[in-house]
Every structure is written in structure tokens, then in C-alpha cells.
């Protein structure tokens, strides 16, 4: 039974693969050249262990690799540092056979010791998702220098997804000789975080802080004939309009991960030499919503939340504030998730009339000045779009009688107010689904994730025993059909309960000059090695 389902899944995946592999030709269209890209802010480190922020993830995945690479939106695993692998029938033992001919950038050979060290001493304790990925690791064995065996306590359904170069990079054990890896300071302050040594197709050539980073081809790369490019350059340009101009003049080849203001993306997409794409980030799945502090009335009342939800025109938010680069939100799992999105969810309705009726029903009548009650709102301090969203929300809620006062804080202040002090009514924010909802979605909606001081967790104080139960089951269930049913139910409950008001599925739009090829390969295209990217 399980074999049949897996076979069907593999078949489905290969259809997806066929449509994606147009750019996956083994030969480079042209060898040589420099790819220049822009992104702001500048990375603070060159390893996702120090921080997995977007700019760091983009650049460090060209330098470091993991056991697997992936193809397609559903992340079909392909060999990378691991040549082949077998999974036991009970799904608790994963055996990887490693490549023999891999060398680190400093010439030393890569062995299973490096894998064991990286996973156990570096990724599991210090990566932000380390415990989610390897929390159930009972033992890691290296019977010979080119074999790694993972023994899990429980069968983890998404285990094959964890070996992404950004999530579980393999670092050289010898670079940590003499460094105390027992403390965060020791690891984050290690020289390798600023002067990386990886196995990837590119290695660091020069980093002028505030100006640029140059990566050059790794001449000893194990995949002969790759990378196609000679150099990858990051140019640091803090101003959005200046970045757009650089793309337009051709000084820069690529602006990934919505690194340009949406208005500029819309303008540039009309130019003949520019290509824009919203594909290539399906395994990130950014989902934007309003987090609601459920601890006090009136927001503790689900009718009030439904009214707020009905007062906001999601399509308008997408079209006007985000220049069409998004999709109206509908639930905790984004619609681009090929496996688990619940298609039966009903889209949220926009109806200020019904919102007014609901608030009357809930007992919050208008006062003499037309105001039912007052409330504050915060917004994610990531740029102008969020400020405009806050202004729009204030305007629309004002129409149904809710007087909203907007509070403006910078990132540090906002994090403290929302996640440490829980001192807010509603705030806009977004969250990544990541490659499996058990990784990215669970942390916002389970009651055990109500943790003071932990950013991007359950700040709302939402406690639903059924949701907790379902999340706990689905994280250890290996039958995809059963998982789908469990996720469907979770989505329906959260869609109706509205612990957060789902607003919009964001998109990461990539903009590049049409002389660049081979960028979109999988659901984490900008966090992949770019070894097959070539330029005319």
C-alpha cells in the first residue's frame, strides 16, 4: 500500500520534474562570465548557522552544500554530497553513501566525519530549525569514511527535505579545531563564519563590507564542467530605486527574492530585456496575516475577528499595495503547496455590511461618535508596503466603527513588543511555510509554542487542543494521504477560528536580465547552488 502511494507520488513528481528540467541541461550553455546580483540588506555572515536571514541564505548556499540537492516545486531529492541513499521500511533509518572525490575549498578531503560533526555539533544546536529537523535523531553512525547512517526515534515524514544547503549545510570539522563549539559565541565567532570553507561550486574571493562580495569558481569542484559561471558578485545598494536602476541599465543581472520595490518590478517587467518570475520559492511559501492578541476582549471574541476579516478587501490589498504580486490569503498553508493545500477552503468574503451586522450581534454597538471600540495596531517594520497596509486597515476598520491607532516601532522595538512583552492588539507580519507545514506552520498555532521571548512563535496565545493534537500526530505520520486529511482539518479549523486574520500569500518575485539562464530549478531556487546558471 505504502509502496503504491510512494510510486504514485514519484510519478507525479517526475511530471513536475519534466516541466522544470528545461533549464536542467547537463551541459552549460556557455562557460564563463560573471553574474552580478543585488539584495538589501548586506549579509552579516557567510553561513546560515550564524543567521539564516535571506541575504545570508542567498550567498552561503553557493559556498556550502548539503547531502542532497532538489528539483521541482515539491523538492524531489537528487544526489549532491550524497551519491545514493536507502531508507528502511519503518522509515527510521536513513543510510547515505557519500561521494568519494569531494575536496573542501582548502584542499582537504571531505568525509563522513564532517557530516557527523556538522549535524550533531553545529546544525542541531545552533541552526534556528535544528531541533525541528534533528530533534528525533537517536544516533548518527559513520561505519566508514563515506557512509552516514541516521537513526531516528520516530519516523519523521519530512526528513528527506532537511538536507537543503541553506538549512543543513555541511561544514568542515577541521575548521573548528581548537574552538569551543559548546557555546553560541564560540561557533558564531569562529573564523569560518567570515572566511568560509565549503565544498560548493563557488568560494569567497573578496568581501568589502558595505560595497560588495565576490565569489569565484571553485576549480576543484566535484561536478566536472560546473559551475558554468566564473564569478558571482553581490553588489550592496541600500536604496530600492537605485537597485532598480542598476538592473535597468544592465549593470546588475539579477534582483532575487523581491529585492526591488513592487512598483519598480511592475515597471521593469514591461522592458523587453527583463524577465520577472514568481516561481522558484514554493518551498518557502511566505504567508502574510494579522496576528491578534487573543488574551483580552473584544478581540478574544471570534465574531469580532470575523468582522475585521470581512472589512478588509484582500484583492485590493494585493492589487494596490503589492502591485498585484501576491494572492489573497485563505489559510495557514499557501495555495502553492503542491501536496497539502486544502482546496475546499472558502475564500474570505469582503463585506463591510456583514461586518457591521456581526459587530452589532456581538454586542459592540456604535457610540454617539460612531465608534464601537478603540484598538491599537502595529506593523512589521520591513518597509513602506507595511506602513501602507496599516493605513489601509485603519481606514477600513474606521468604516465599521473601530478606531485604530497605529504604533510605529523599528524592528528591535517591534520584536520586543510583540514577542517578549505581548503588548499589542493586532500586528501585521508574515511567516514562511518552509518545505513542510510541520516545519513552518506548527510553530505559530500550537499552545506549546506560546513562549515569551521567542520570536515568530504563538504570540496570540491561541490554545486549541484539537489543533495541538492534529499537529502532534501529523509530524510523525508517514502516510501522505493521512497527513493530507490531518492538514485539511487543521486548515479548516484555523480558517474558521481566525486566531490570525489571513490576508495575503506573498510572492518572492525575481527580476533578471534575459541573458541569464537556468535560475529557476526548484522550490528554493535562490537558495540553491547556481552551478547550472549560465550567462550569454
Amino acid at each position: 500500500m505504502i509502496c503504491n502511494r510512494s510510486a504514485r507520488l514519484i510519478l507525479a513528481a517526475s511530471f513536475i520534474l519534466a516541466s522544470w528540467s528545461a533549464a536542467g541541461a547537463q551541459q552549460c550553455g556557455k562557460t564563463g562570465g560573471t553574474l552580478t546580483y543585488v539584495y538589501h540588506p548586506e549579509p552579516t555572515a557567510l553561513s546560515t548557522i550564524a543567521t539564516s536571514a535571506v541575504p545570508v541564505a542567498i550567498i552561503s548556499t553557493k559556498i556550502y552544500e548539503s547531502l542532497l540537492s532538489y528539483e521541482g516545486a515539491a523538492l524531489t531529492p537528487k544526489p549532491s554530497l550524497a551519491e545514493s541513499w536507502t531508507v528502511s521500511d519503518d522509515k527510521k533509518t536513513y543510510t547515505f553513501k557519500l561521494r568519494h572525490d569531494v575536496k573542501w575549498h582548502d584542499g582537504k578531503p571531505f568525509t563522513a566525519e564532517d557530516v557527523a560533526f556538522s549535524v550533531q555539533k553545529i546544525v542541531r544546536p545552533y541552526s534556528s530549525r535544528g531541533k525541528v529537523y534533528f530533534g528525533d535523531l537517536a544516533a548518527l553512525e559513520t561505519p566508514d569514511p563515506y557512509t552516514v547512517v541516521f537513526k531516528l526515534k520516530d519516523a519523521v515524514p519530512f526528513f528527506m527535505n532537511v538536507f537543503q544547503p541553506g538549512e543543513t549545510p555541511i561544514l568542515p570539522k577541521h575548521a573548528f579545531d581548537g574552538i569551543d563549539v559548546g557555546t553560541a559565541a564560540g561557533v558564531r565567532g569562529a573564523e569560518i563564519m567570515q572566511k568560509p570553507i565549503g565544498t560548493g561550486p563557488f568560494r569567497l574571493k573578496e568581501w568589502r563590507k558595505g560595497s560588495h562580495i565576490i565569489l569565484e569558481r571553485n576549480p576543484g569542484y566535484w561536478d566536472k564542467g560546473r559551475p558554468c559561471l566564473d564569478q558571482v558578485v553581490l553588489r550592496v545598494l541600500p536604496d530600492g530605486a537605485a537597485r532598480a536602476i542598476a538592473v535597468e541599465t544592465g549593470e546588475v543581472d539579477l534582483a532575487p527574492m523581491s529585492g526591488l520595490p513592487e512598483a519598480e518590478i511592475q515597471r521593469l517587467s514591461k522592458l523587453p530585456q527583463i524577465v520577472t518570475s514568481r516561481e522558484g520559492a514554493e518551498a518557502l511559501g511566505p504567508n502574510m496575516w494579522l496576528e491578534v492578541n487573543l488574551r483580552e476582549k473584544p478581540l478574544a471574541d471570534v465574531k469580532v475577528r470575523q468582522a475585521i476579516s470581512m472589512a478588509l478587501d484582500r484583492q485590493r490589498i494585493v492589487d494596490v499595495i503589492w502591485y498585484g504580486q501576491g494572492t489573497p490569503g485563505i489559510g495557514p498553508i499557501v495555495s502553492s503547496n503542491p501536496t497539502f493545500f486544502n482546496k475546499a477552503l472558502k475564500p474570505y468574503e469582503y463585506s463591510p455590511a456583514k461586518a457591521n451586522a456581526l459587530l452589532d450581534e456581538a454586542g459592540y454597538r456604535r457610540g454617539a461618535d460612531g465608534v464601537r471600540f478603540k484598538m491599537t495596531q502595529n506593523f512589521l517594520p520591513y518597509g513602506e508596503n507595511w506602513l501602507r497596509l496599516a493605513e489601509y486597515i485603519r481606514q477600513e476598520l474606521g468604516k465599521i466603527g473601530i478606531a485604530v491607532e497605529t504604533q510605529s516601532l523599528d524592528l528591535g522595538g517591534w520584536l520586543k513588543a510583540i514577542y517578549t512583552d505581548w503588548n499589542f492588539n493586532i500586528t501585521s507580519t508574515f511567516s514562511h511555510n518552509y518545505s513542510d507545514p510541520s516545519i513552518g506552520v506548527e510553530r505559530t498555532f500550537t499552545s506549546e509554542n506560546i513562549k515569551k521571548g521567542a520570536t515568530f512563535t504563538n504570540s496570540m496565545g491561541y490554545k486549541n487542543p484539537r489543533v495541538d493534537e492534529l499537529f502532534s500526530k501529523v509530524a510523525r505520520e508517514n502516510d501522505v494521504a493521512v497527513r493530507k486529511k490531518q492538514f485539511d482539518e487543521i486548515q479548516q479549523i484555523l480558517h474558521d477560528d481566525l486566531p490570525v486574520i489571513f490576508l495575503m500569500e506573498m510572492s518572492y518575485t525575481h527580476v533578471w536580465n534575459k541573458r541569464v539562464h537556468g535560475l529557476i530549478t526548484n522550490g528554493i531556487s535562490m537558495y540553491s547552488s547556481w552551478s547550472g546558471v549560465w550567462k550569454e
Binding site: T34, T36, P41, E42, T44, A45, A50, T51, S52, A53, Y126, S128, R129, K131, T183, A184, A185, R188, G189, M193, Q194, R208, K209, G210, S211, H212, I214, Q231, R235, V236, L237, P238, D239, A241, A242, I245, A246, E248, T249, E251, D410, L411, G412, G413, W414, L415, K416, A417, Y419, T420, S431, H432, R443, K451, K452, G453, A454, T455, F456, T457
Partner: protein, 325 residues
């Protein structure tokens, strides 16, 4: 000991308590800002467990009581140790030293050119007072002063990089190309042109108007009438006699602004992607990188105090009537 030397010595000794007081004030002010670097690093990683954040905080030394952190900081300052940036994982001194050359290049070029052209234009406007030259200069100065720098910068980029395509749109130099020293200097000069223009026009307007009004005031003095009565040409009266006496207010203002040299110009640096200290301060503040921020503020305050001293000495040189006690 000559009076001047006493004066200098007294002022240099005053630097120490002044700078320490500034450092203490900065420390207190920055700790008032809510949130810290551990929160931000965890947030930028997409969230982390509270244990992870607590561990980060501990490794940054942020969990110690405030007075302890303060004493540690002052003790380090007295040994000229600026500390370690937890966010960027490098010594603060290195981070600042990296940006100083670029900042100095931009600011010195901008302010020097602004001074030269601003004073010349101010002199011209004053000498041609009430004629059309004066009106043109005054209006242009007002426009240059009122135009926002980020708008001006972007418009210059659109004009010269996109429409004409003759100048680069940002950065300090062409990256990745191997060049001889001469070619590199030329390359940097090309990249320097637009940022200097954007920065300089603003200061130039200020100096022009200040010089003009100072000259007009000096023209009412008796020695100008004497010089004219002696038969000197109007050009000589204006350029030699009036200008040198009108210079003092401009020197004062220039001194104040050169003191801000190391602060860089965050607007120009942002628009042109120029790797200067202004942006470093801004980024450090948003990331709550306290050690880096305090380091930059400390270095800046030392520079300001020293330059103030230099300007005071310059007064004595320019105007012998000023006596230093």
C-alpha cells in the same frame, strides 16, 4: 610657556572628560531603545527558541546588570579597545577603519569643493550686489538648499546613468576588474562625481549665502571706505580686503561641518551605495549592534572635539585680534 601653548594644552586635557561624558551618555541613551541584538538575530533567522535567544544574549554579555556592562565598557575605552561587534562578528575598530577612507574621500571632496565654489559665488554675489548676477546666485543657492538630497541624487542618476549612460549609477568602483593604479583612480573619480555633486550642492548653497551676507556686512566697515579712497580697484577691495575679513563666519561653519565629517552623509551613501560611516551607523542602530554604535559615536566625538580645537587655533591665525587665554 607661551600663552598659545598653554591654551592648546588646557584644551587637549579637557578632551578626556568631555569624551568620557559623551560615551556615558551614549551608553545610557542606546540602552533605552527597546529590544536587543539577540532578538533581532533570532528574528532574522525566522524565529528561534527562547533558550537559543537566551544563549545568544549571554554570549553577548547583555544579561549582565547595566552598571557592570557600563564599567566594562568604560574600562575598555580607556585602553582604546573598541570591542567586538556581535552582529558582524568582527572587531569594531576594523569595521570603522574599513569605512573611514571612503567616508573621508566623499566628505572631504564634497566639502572642499563646496567651500571653494561657495565662497567664490558668495563673493561674486556680494560684489555684484543688486545686479542680476546677485539674483541668479541667490535663487540658485536657494534651489540647491531646498532640494532634498535623495531626490537630487536619484535624478542625477536617471539623467547621467540611464539617459546619457556616461556615469555609473552607484558604488565606489567597478567591481572585479583588474586595473592599474592610475586607471583605478580614474574609475573611483568617475564613481565619485555624482555623489560629490549631490552632497556638495547643498553645502555650497549654505556657504554662498553666508559668504554673501558676511561680505555685505564687511562692506559697511570703515577700512573699506579707506581702501576705496586710496584708489584701489573694486576687484582688489572686494577680493583681498573684504573677503579675508568676511571669512570668519564661514570658517566657523565649515569647522562645525567638518567635525561631522566622520558621520558621513547617510542619504548620499544610501542612494549611491557608497560604503561610508553614515550607513554603518544607521544599520548598527537598526540591528541594535551596541558595541559598533558606541565605537562609532566615540570616534566621532573625539574627532569633533579635536577639530573644534583646530578651528579655534585657526581663528587666531586668521584674525590677530583674537587672543587665546
Amino acid at each position: 610657556m607661551p600663552a598659545k601653548l598653554w591654551f592648546v594644552l588646557k584644551r587637549v586635557l579637557q578632551v578626556v572628560p568631555v569624551v568620557l561624558a559623551i560615551a556615558a551618555l551614549n551608553f545610557l541613551l542606546l540602552h533605552l531603545a527597546p529590544g536587543d541584538a539577540a532578538d533581532i538575530i533570532a528574528a532574522q533567522s525566522g524565529g528561534a527558541s527562547p533558550e537559543f535567544v537566551a544563549e545568544l544574549r549571554r554570549s553577548f554579555g547583555l544579561d549582565r546588570p547595566l552598571y557592570q556592562q557600563f564599567l566594562v565598557y568604560i574600562a575598555r575605552l580607556l585602553t582604546f579597545d573598541l570591542g567586538w561587534s556581535n552582529v558582524q562578528q568582527r572587531p569594531v575598530f576594523d569595521l570603522i577603519a574599513d569605512r573611514v577612507p571612503a567616508t573621508l574621500l566623499l566628505m572631504m571632496t564634497g566639502i572642499t569643493l563646496a567651500l571653494i565654489f561657495g565662497t567664490l559665488l558668495g563673493i561674486l554675489a556680494a560684489m555684484r550686489h543688486r545686479r542680476w548676477t546677485d539674483s541668479v546666485v541667490s535663487v540658485l543657492a536657494l534651489l540647491a538648499y531646498a532640494t532634498p538630497q535623495f531626490w537630487l541624487g536619484l535624478m542625477l542618476i536617471v539623467l547621467f546613468s540611464i539617459t546619457f549612460g556616461i556615469l555609473p549609477s552607484g558604488g565606489m568602483m567597478t567591481i572585479g576588474a583588474v586595473m592599474s593604479a592610475g586607471a583605478r583612480a580614474l574609475d573611483i573619480a568617475r564613481h565619485l562625481l555624482l555623489p560629490t555633486l549631490t552632497l556638495g550642492l547643498f553645502y555650497m548653497a549654505i556657504y554662498a549665502r553666508l559668504m554673501r551676507s558676511s561680505m555685505l556686512e564687511v562692506y559697511t566697515h570703515e577700512y573699506i571706505t579707506t581702501a576705496r579712497a586710496k584708489g584701489l580697484s573694486e576687484a582688489r577691495v572686494g577680493l583681498v580686503h573684504a573677503a579675508s575679513n568676511a571669512l570668519l563666519p564661514v570658517v566657523t561653519l565649515a569647522g562645525v561641518q567638518i567635525g561631522h565629517l566622520l558621520g558621513g552623509s547617510i542619504l548620499v551613501e544610501t542612494v549611491f551605495g557608497w560604503p561610508g560611516l553614515g550607513r554603518l551607523v544607521f544599520d548598527a542602530l537598526l540591528q541594535r549592534d551596541l558595541n559598533l554604535l558606541l565605537g562609532i559615536l566615540f570616534v566621532s566625538s573625539v574627532v569633533v572635539v579635536l577639530i573644534n580645537l583646530a578651528v579655534d587655533l585657526l581663528y587666531g591665525f586668521l584674525d590677530p585680534r583674537i587672543v587665546h587665554k
